[in-house]
Amino acid sequence: MIVEADGLCKTFRVADKAPGFAATVRHLVRRRTKDVHAVRDVSFALEAGEVVGFLGENGAGKTTTLKMLTGLVKPSAGRATVVGHTPFARRRDFLSAITLVMGNKQQLVWDLPAGDSFRIHAAVYRLDDRDVQRRVTELSEMLDITDKLTTPVRKLSLGERMKLELVASLLHQPKVLFLDEPTLGLDVNAQQTIRAFIRDYNAQHGATVLLTSHYMADITALTERVVVLHQGGLVYDGSLSSLVSSFVTTRQVVIKLRTPVDGADLAGLGAVDFHGPAELKLRVERDALQPTLAQILERLPVVDLTVTAPPVEDTIGHILKTGQSSKRVDA
């Protein structure tokens, strides 16, 4: 196991102040604090070469967990082991074996072309300049960004900057990549390039990737396995497809109508998602699908009828919001 989290917990103490003048003064005199349990008892493990999606709403504890795995935050309890090291000791060997990319933070020197930042990285990671040159060429070709290496970073678009951040983060050939929202705020093209890049990079170098993203497309395209956090706790660890299928117990039935129907005609046919003059959308329990379809064909003026599973995005969104999934999967 190249990455192991064993009962990780993190509790923060934060200031607690109500808005308004009186509360401000009160806060000045006596600071009230409260404990926030950002991460509680999270355990999972990654095998070398795996690409795993890390899911959860904002504030579910993803970033804090990533920071504990990279040694930036000391766990309140529990143990992390990454490439054989305890991250928080921040040993040179450990740091040279990992990388962290954060979509909302930049490390390239703002006023200079990225090439200059790469040279600094080379010195800091004690890399040979020729190796670095080779790697820059290879990575920037994969990302289709070779023509931007000499432009000052401040003059680049967000997508171009992110691609160069990726190049910088991978110069030292890390074994484990922690990617925190690497596609945040990028347009669809740039997202696709980066997605393809991560897939190819993983395939070619066998690097382990732990990825968080708000874009389900990133997750579905890149990962077989997902780890889901909800309110700091782990609620699911397994394959993406079984997460979706086990959760989805309903089917969507879309019906094209010859003539409009009355609401009363729909009684007993499942939940109505949409009711228009020429179209109907119904949600029907999977187990009741057969008899309900028979009823529909019998009672309604059907021109066309399709049965689909609800979109993955909706399902995942629902799981992340409610944290409901473990019961179904474990059962």
């Binding site: 808005p19 308004g20 003048f21 401000t24 806060h27 000045l28």
Partner: protein, 260 residues
């Protein structure tokens, strides 16, 4: 009425904001230690040399310098430059109030938040140096406060005028830095104008500098106020206001043509 309500909301929010950074306000109150350093050197010098002020008078002078500086601190150029560079000016331009009121609000609220620290430091001073204790008369106090207010407004407007350079260069604060050097040495912070050679003093009195510190300080220590003490800073204020308005208009035109 709406003006008052708006002003109150501004001040409350900015006061809360300042209190969040109260450890820094404490640092700011300490940062103005230069008058106390000058005080030490001048008290010692007056002990042994022939200077127009006695040691205890130097002590009082620099204490009041400290107070007047606390009352008249201005940093609008830094804030404005930051707002332009970070693109925070644009949303403010959309609000139906001149952006300057944000800065004014911040400055006024900060004064209130800073006050407790200042009181502590003054009390500390008199504990260490009880001989310097004095009680100014009402008229002296009012004169000093009025002149300090004038000094504050003048400093704010001057600095805001310099801040307009941020529309053209990313280094508006460097330009202001030059001005700051003049302020440091010629306003009376490192030495009272009374110890300047006659000829130098006469020239310096036509610049805005002494009216920012030395003149309000002397007012509290009982020196008579002349018409000149109001007219010269008043004239400078007028110049700064006109320059600021012109630069603001030209700067905005440029800012919006650059795509804000």
């Amino acid at each position: 009425m709406t003006f008052l309500r708006r002003a109150r909301a501004f001040l409350e929010v900015y006061y809360a904001y300042m209190l969040v950074y109260r450890s820094e306000l404490l640092l700011w109150a300490l940062a103005m230690s230069l008058p106390f350093i000058s005080m030490g050197a001048w008290i010692k010098a007056a002990d042994t040399g022939a200077f127009p002020l006695a040691p205890v008078e130097f002590g009082r002078y620099f204490l009041v310098v400290y107070l007047v500086r606390q009352l008249t601190v201005v940093w609008v150029v830094w804030e404005f430059e930051y707002d332009i560079v970070q693109g925070r000016l644009s949303p403010r331009l959309l609000q139906p109030a001149d952006p300057v009121w944000h800065y004014v609000g911040g400055h006024v609220a900060e004064r209130a938040a800073r006050l407790p620290f200042t009181v502590v430091i003054v009390a500390f001073f008199f504990m260490l140096y009880p001989e310097a204790w004095f009680v100014p008369s009402w008229t002296e106090t009012v004169a000093c406060l009025a002149l300090s207010l004038l000094a504050w407004v003048l400093r704010f407007v001057l600095q805001y005028a310099f801040a307009m350079a941020a529309f053209w260069t990313e280094k508006a604060s460097s330009i202001e830095g030059l001005w700051q050097i003049g302020f440091l040495f010629l306003s009376g912070v490192v030495a009272p104008l009374a110890v300047f050679p006659e000829a130098v003093r006469e020239v310096v009195l036509y610049t805005p500098f002494p009216y920012l510190i030395d003149v309000p300080v002397r007012a509290l220590l009982g020196a008579p106020i002349t018409l000149r003490d109001v007219l010269i800073p008043g004239a400078w204020l007028l110049v700064a206001l006109v320059a600021q308005r012109l630069a603001w208009r030209a700067g905005l035109a440029r800012y919006s043509s650059m795509g804000a």
